[in-house]
Amino acid sequence: MSVEVIAHRFGLAGYATCFAGIAWREVLRFLHQRERFLAALVRPLVWLFIFAAGFRQVLGVSIIPPYQTYVLYEVFVTPGLVGMIQLFNAMQTSLSMVHDRETGVMRTLLLSPFPRSFLLISKLAGGVFVSLLQVYVFLLIAYFWEIELPIIGYFTVLPALLICGLMLGAIALFMSSVIKQLENFAGVMNFVIFPMFFASSALYPLWRIKEANPLLYEICRANPFTHAVELIRFAMYGQLEPVALAVVLAFTAVFLTAAIYAYNPSKGMLARRGEAG
């Protein structure tokens, strides 16, 4: 039998092929999981249609940037719900990576000759693309619920979503790698998603929290999710919140490094976990 020569490419084009392949698989898998798509949409929509409608009477939102006029509570809470979509998606992606690690699926990925750090970043980026799909479908539905962003906002929010998604993915990956108790989703809900979501500016402006409880206010300000939500909120109106951007970038760098370290074959948790056989 003649053996054809295969064009392995390990230059820039090879990296691009590898990245596209990993991201493509993530999106393809997501599109095959209709229940997950539905759940990812229903969750924020329940908050928008029911919670926000009821809460609107309780909480008045005064004029704070980036809003130039009084806004309805539904409008205020939309960036928070977008953040929630990304938070859930990040946790699901990372959790599946931990589960996959035990099976052959993750080991197949790690057999790629490309550097581990690149493979992990590609995998996280694939998860971020999945979250983009969810966010834009959500924004489309919200549009018909009369939550209309300025046209430019639909474009300027994109880079904010990319970086926030990467940060949340890196945090999620790091935490699910090192904390064994987080291996089921109930644990993740209780100990990660709920605290991050509620102790943030997703549901209420921070100045109102400050009036109620100064300590909680400080906790909210230290929460990276708050800054992700604020970055998304301003970007939706074509504006840049520099503090939020700096915080999100810093958290991304720190947790990405930590997650890559956790997957380093000689140092991280892979080395510490024994297996039979």
Binding site: M1, V3, E4, V5, I6, A7, H8, R9, F10, A13, G14, Y15, T17, C18, A20, G21, I22, W24, R25, L28, R29, H32, Q33, T103, G104, V105, R107, T108, L109, L110, L111, S112, P113, F114, P115, L119, P265, S266, L270, A271, G274, E275, A276, G277
Partner: protein
């Protein structure tokens, strides 16, 4: 078996030298050395818990070896991972295909992990599937396949990037007798056709041919390294099965079939 000097054309698909690995107090591998020449079929025989999977985990860099070295086509797995992994194909014991994706999609994904562009990947995927007799089912989801067919897809996938070294960890686990034989025959065929060096890990003696090169692993140690007839002689046994049971003892051979 480890050559001191490496000739220009690397004769060994896989070389393991002085490999020791422990998980905490538990010594999983104790000074293990073995070699798989190109175009050779070597059986890594050992009962469950002998250290076979640990050896695979180290060779595939799930974690790094601390002492000893592993070379794939002459490249140190730890120091030159890119060159080493490029030449390595692996079939894991556990299922590792995406059951929601089609056969072709699974193979294209794998090709991308090796930097093979999409259009070329499609071509090679079709060729690889034809080789394992599943060309017509390329568009079907993996979910629709039987266990034996899925294994054949995994072998096609492991060979897609034309590796020189192929590792299979209990590749026939969970297959019926007919599928087991066809998978084994296919892999043996590859050795002669493509000069691939194969390390076939198993705990089933009946997968070993009388003349095969055998590395017998027990409790992390190499008990025997040589051909079938020599193993019979060493154990003073008439069949490989008896020889195996004699060498690993009752405790380790309990699940031998």
């Amino acid at each position: 078996m480890t050559p001191a000097l490496r000739p220009p054309a690397e004769p060994y698909a896989l070389q393991v030298h002085g490999l020791t690995h422990r998980f905490g107090q538990n010594l999983a591998l104790d000074n293990v050395s073995l070699a798989v020449p190109r175009g050779a079929f070597v059986v890594l025989l050992g009962p469950n818990g002998a250290g076979k999977s640990t050896l695979f985990a180290l060779a595939t860099r799930l974690y790094d070896n601390v002492s000893g070295e592993i070379r794939i086509l002459g490249h140190d797995v730890r120091r030159q991972p890119m060159a080493a992994l490029k030449n390595l194909g692996v079939v894991f014991q556990s299922r590792s295909l995406d059951s929601d994706l089609s056969l072709q999609q699974n193979l294209i994904y794998h090709a991308s992990l090796h930097g093979i562009a999409r259009r070329e990947a499609k071509h090679h995927a079709a060729r690889a599937l034809a080789k394992v007799g599943l060309a017509e089912r390329a568009g079907e989801k993996v979910r629709a396949l039987s266990g034996g067919q899925a294994r054949r897809v995994e072998i096609a996938r492991a060979l897609l990037h034309e590796p020189t070294c192929l590792l299979l960890d209990e590749a026939t686990a969970g297959l019926d007798v007919a599928s087991r034989e066809s998978v084994l025959a296919m892999v043996r065929g590859l050795v002669t056709e493509r000069a691939v060096g194969v390390l076939w890990a198993t705990h089933l003696v009946d997968e070993v041919d009388a003349e095969d090169a055998i590395v017998l692993l027990h409790r992390g140690r190499v008990l025997f390294n040589g051909r079938g007839p020599a193993l019979l002689k060493l154990a003073q046994a008439e069949s490989l099965r008896t020889a195996f049971l004699r060498l690993v003892g009752k405790d380790g051979g309990g699940d031998v079939k």
